[in-house]
Amino acid sequence: MANYQIPSWVIFSIFAVLASQYFSGSHSASILNSIAIAALLAGSLRFVMLIGELNFAIAAFVGIGAYSAGVATTMLDISFFLAILTSGVAASLISMVFGSITLRSGGPYFLLIGFAFTEAMRIVYSKTDVLGQTSGMVGIFPPIEFDDWLSLFVIIICLGLLFLMYVIEKSQFGTIFKSIRDNSDVTRTVGINVLYWKVVCFAIASFCAGIAGALQAFVNNVISPGDFGYLLAVFALAYVKVGGESSIAGSILGAIFLVVLSEFALALGAGEHIFYGAAIVIAVLFMREGIVGLVSSTISWITKTRASKEERV
């Protein structure tokens, strides 16, 4: 049976929760929130990589989620939890329509259209009156009772969704997704509807992206079209590549590493763009397996040298 690595997840979650209680100052809490949301975005981007596609429309779905949360909270007075859920569902539904057209083409076509979709959605936000046009929406507050617990809540939701994606990846659905990436023709010949499952995978990832958007809206209280440009997708890609795309742990590690490092870098005065750009270029050119790959090759190197030492002795 599948091994879900439950102990690792539990230990990591306890650390995360403790961290949220320890770093309760507003600045460090906001870093924790950024890390959690960044990890969720990376997980979502990576989830679509399971079917072999690079989803640059992710920024659009984060935006859709954030604006849904904004509309639900400031205009429709929908409750906090329901607003978050609505965001995920809205992003997911739109992604089904978008995906069932663009995933037919797949490959570079899907990638580039996703990029264009992100830009198009930005125009939609900035031209729609009720969405506040270019100045965006303000006053997206979580309920007052959540003031002290927001960080904890964000962390729990993000970890929960990451775990959900992990479980799906390990399940037989994950097998179907990966086989589509590996060899879609063979997958087709055993009676599996490839387009259907591609859309399912995409819709799940977009659900998570939508929720991430809603969380971001509640954390920042303000959203504007500029927050949901393609850079968001590029950052998510940086987390995935730097952390290592072979496992979901890589996405989480990449998010932690880059968000924390960029805090220091920005404090030293370097531009955010240069920092992330350099991180991606370095990761792609020099560490193809990311941090996770470095760690595991270091471990195997250590065990190997030990073994050879023992042999010599």
Binding site: Q172, T175, S179, D182, N183, V186, R188, T189, V190, G191
Partner: protein, 248 residues
């Protein structure tokens, strides 16, 4: 033989054009229950195109296709596979980065959808056992030796327990022992599961040995059909295989 039975798979006057090129035409083909049918012919005779027509990867530009008695002309590969026709490919007919277990498991997914995972796993292991792959279930398929990879691709296809199994050059690159054990597996698939097999193969020794009947393609058209001994003594077949020069 079997002339009273209804065929599981039949093509009627199938035709496929690519631009100005007529790759397959006037193709009538029938596969009867429990039969192993060989599809042979020199390189470029249209065997691969025929396979793609029968499995739905190419919609025909003319003629009709029936699978399990139902009209399937122009249906997608997924739909045709769900009727019980499963094929393999000549090259790379597996998921290279996945374990052998997951490869074979994939084959059970649709056919056992809605059933419990335990059943799918049992089916996977039964299939692996039959193909002699039990010891390799946890290996990554793409790094196995070529011969084992061939067996894995047959395993994926057979795990869905098709009524019709279409194998595209399954013996290519196998050594003598591997080939003869693969032939044994084909016999078992037919004997124990009543599955009919359509075989494209250029290993003539094997084809002659295992096939009940064969159809010879040349320039996209069937030019002969019959039992091994008829085909082997057919002057036209010999001449297209060994070539002929117009009398000079």
């Amino acid at each position: 033989m079997n002339s009273e039975q209804t065929p599981l798979l039949s093509g009627r006057q199938l035709e496929r054009r690519f631009g100005g090129l007529l790759a397959v035409s006037e193709l009538d083909i029938d596969l009867y229950p429990g039969e192993i049918l060989g599809l042979i012919g020199p390189n470029g005779a249209g065997k691969s195109t025929t396979f793609n027509l029968l499995s739905g990867f190419y919609p025909p530009t003319g003629g009709e296709l029936y699978v399990m008695g139902e009209r399937c002309t122009g249906k997608s590969p997924t739909k045709i596979s769900r009727k019980g026709l499963v094929r393999t490919f000549q090259h790379g007919s597996l998921m290279p980065s996945m374990s052998v277990r997951d490869n074979i498991l994939l084959g059970t997914m649709h056919q056992l959808s809605g059933r419990r995972r335990i059943e799918r796993i049992a089916r996977t292991e039964e299939t692996a056992e039959m193909l002699g792959l039990s010891a390799f279930l946890e290996e990554v398929a793409g790094v196995l030796p070529h011969g084992l990879q061939r067996l894995v691709s047959i395993g994926i296809a057979f795990a869905s327990r098709p009524k019709i199994l279409c194998l595209d050059e399954p013996l290519t690159g196998l050594n003598h022992t591997e080939a003869s054990s693969a032939l044994h597996v084909f016999e078992r698939i037919r004997g124990e599961f009543g599955c009919s097999i359509l075989l494209v193969e250029h290993n003539m020794k094997a084809v002659m040995k295992i096939c009940d009947r064969m159809v010879v393609l040349h320039h996209g058209k069937p030019i002969a059909a019959g039992r091994a001994e008829d085909i082997q003594s057919n002057e036209e077949v010999i001449s297209i295989y060994l070539g002929r020069l117009d009398d000079e």
